[in-house]
Symmetry: C2
Subunit: 299 residues, 2 copies
């Protein structure tokens, strides 16, 4: 089955102590869409300006991504600029230029409205809700979010998460949302806000799922070198959704393996700037790391 | 087989936002010794003053711990006092009174010198080395340490770790020791300092082993409530060593399960102040949580 991914489609300028990389292909929908495309057909819904490089369109197409939901309009593409320290856990935003994203209102082509798997990748919760309004009885809806929306659009976010099957957020966001410093007890509080599944991302420490059959603790793939973690969380949730859409049987049955596949795609994301490494990966590379994760977690 | 545990035997005064607990049984050797005692015979080597409560001696004895290596001398028992914030990851030391520990020089009774499993729990590396000097061909030697010794006794620590089979330290200490912000690549650098096995403790995020057959990523037991994490790291390494000493076959074969048993005992440690909860636990309780960890990490 196929996955609809809505989120940001951006140009990212990323600096580290060792390198500067201007105007990379970025944004939550780009990372999540490419990640999902290793497993299932993907439609990306987003907006870009007339400065958006044609080679990035070709990169989406190389991954078989359906672009009928990608609006191209006059103006500048959303541009994010950030800088990492030597310890990649520390990053600061240098600039956020919304461009054509400022007035974005996702409008789904009729053919997309019946997509069974819906990934509301990280954008404003009001836009995520607007997409959900246009969907017809999706099978599984996942929303990702970030601290920005907890800070400036909490009411919208709370309204949205009542309507999704799964909420994905990172550990500091789970603490912020619930006011609970303990992530495990925070999970229970987030279920009370609506979602049947809650997934907390912990970066290099892996992720935790809470659902009807209890907890699952998923490993991160151990990386000797992190080049650029931008988009790793988006890759995680994209890979997970792509895998889920590719499998028969219940969500319950497939979600654990989906998270591990998500970890694998996220690990490839971290190995290059932007999508540079992810877009060179094959499904065989992914299977190899999946088997390594099986091996290094067995006891 | 049996485990020799050398480390601190202390009285801990621990405050949290909700409670004050003066003069609990504490110290690295107390936590590690009790943890190991669930699996194997244990000898604790340490020193206490004449103020050391008899009920704590009885508590050791209830756990079958051999105390022939525990010196009782005139003076005050080592006393540590600390305070936790609501977020238990933040703690500060209020007082450290060495007492009889200031002049401690562990002297092993002859019967202890052939103990096959040696756990050099957290104390000054010069004392850990002094114990090792007295051992006769131990089968497996593990050293635990802490940031204090990296700061004030680095040369001693580097000398010691060349002589041990396994070094256990937490993630921030691994970064400090190697100057490498990436824990995975830090592991390789620590191997070059001597130990065949390196185990990095990451608290609520579990632990990582690096050894001859590669990496192992071990889960932490997810806790809804942490009452007092003091001694959790000591309990982890103690439980691990106790399990190893109880098993036939190679270290290589048993170490992964040993770490998971260590995680389980550490989780019980966190559920009460000092050793209050750990000392109420049964082997059946431990097996139950071990099976839960198997279940919540399977994919």
């Amino acid at each position: 089955m196929s996955v609809l991914v809505v989120g940001s489609t951006a140009l990212d300028s990323i600096a580290t102590p060792n390198a500067k990389n201007p105007r990379l292909l970025g944004g939550s929908a780009s990372h999540a869409g490419v990640a999902a495309s290793f497993f299932s057909p993907v439609t990306v819904v987003g907006v870009v300006g007339d400065d958006f490089p044609q080679r990035y369109i070709q990169l989406y197409q190389k991954h078989g991504i359906d672009l009928t939901g990608l609006q191209r309009i006059p103006g500048k593409t959303f541009h994010w600029s950030g800088e990492y320290e030597i310890d990649m856990n520390n990053r600061r935003t240098l600039a956020t230029e919304l461009g054509v994203f400022a007035d974005f209102s996702p409008k789904l082509p009729p053919a997309c409205q019946k997509t069974p798997y819906v990934l509301l990748a990280n954008i404003a919760p009001s836009l995520q809700a607007h997409v959900l309004d246009q969907m017809r009885r999706p099978k599984f809806v996942v929303a990702d979010t970030m601290d920005l929306w907890l800070n400036i659009a909490l009411a919208d976010l709370l309204k949205l998460i009542r309507r999704v099957d799964a909420l994905v957020l990172n550990d500091s966001e789970a603490r912020q949302l619930t006011g609970d410093p303990n992530v495990i007890s925070a999970l229970g509080k987030i279920h009370k806000l609506g979602p049947r599944y809650v997934i907390v991302k912990k970066g290099e420490h892996g992720s935790i799922l809470s659902g009807p059959s209890g907890l699952f603790v998923a490993p991160a793939y151990p990386l000797l070198k992190v080049v650029d973690p931008t988009g790793a969380g988006d890759s995680f949730v994209g890979g997970m959704m792509g895998y889920l859409a590719s499998q028969k049987g219940s969500i319950e049955k497939n979600l654990r393996r989906g998270m591990v596949y998500g970890s694998v795609v996220a690990s490839f994301c971290c190995a290059g700037f932007g999508l540079k490494h992810t877009t060179k990966v094959t499904r065989a590379d992914i299977e190899k790391r999946f088997r390594q994760l099986e091996k290094i977690t067995r006891f």
